[in-house]
Symmetry: C2
Subunit: 140 residues, 2 copies
């Protein structure tokens, strides 16, 4: 884990009025270094030996990071949340791609996930959740 990401993580956390703890720094640094959206489990596995972190603490840190809009949660059909850092490009709502073979999830920044859709009378639109499924380049 690059020291760079840890520095950025620390600044981001501080800037959002949270306590700058080793756990939060480690978690956010992992997500900053990661291309894809990853699960709680995968984050746990990427944590260094030197930073043992309770499952619950990890869940709560992720919750806090999502509240502060530093990361976002991605729903999936395998009943597992995936987490991804909010870079400028996809701070807004956006679509995701999930590989049906390796379960890898990426963000599709250029897909319009914000526009309204036709709904039955009396229904009010809030947002859409769009996941494109298929095979990733590695699995093709």
């Amino acid at each position: 884990m690059s020291i760079d990401f840890r520095n950025i993580a620390g600044e981001l956390i501080q800037h959002h009025g949270g306590r700058v703890t080793a756990g939060r720094i480690g978690i956010l640094a992992i997500l900053l270094a990661e291309q894809h959206a990853i699960t709680h489990r995968e984050i746990e596995q990427r944590l260094p030996e030197s930073l043992p972190l309770d499952r619950v603490t990890l869940y709560r840190a992720l919750e806090w990071l999502a509240e502060k809009n530093l990361i976002h949660k991605v729903t999936s059909d395998d009943r597992v949340w995936r987490y991804h850092v909010n870079r400028e490009l996809h701070a807004h709502h956006h679509a995701h791609f999930k590989c049906t073979r390796c379960a890898q999830v990426i963000c599709l920044d250029d897909l319009p996930a914000e526009r309204s859709w036709p709904l039955p009378a009396g229904y009010r639109f809030q947002e859409i959740e769009l996941t494109v499924k298929g095979l990733c380049a590695d699995c093709c």
Copy 2:
């Protein structure tokens, strides 16, 4: 539960080469009578006293019905599958609406969930999963 739905259910099950059991008839009849996509739990609750059915049997029956394309499963952000009968209109893939207040799920038959989307090079499209979220007419 209308005897009509039970008759239709029985015929559908038989036509697909499965054993026509009380459980399958009861489950499919419930889904035939239902407008919305409902959860395993909700199906369980709608089962008549006269038809006690083990949770596992219910899961396996739903799995079989989905395999035979008599029903389809809907993913949701609450990590709970919902099930809905396949009427002609939405035998194909289609989008869903979920109320963020009462969690009700309906099928949006007129939304194009089949067309391909632009993906990164080397990625292969299979299908999309689209959930529109908002408030239903009752919750508005």
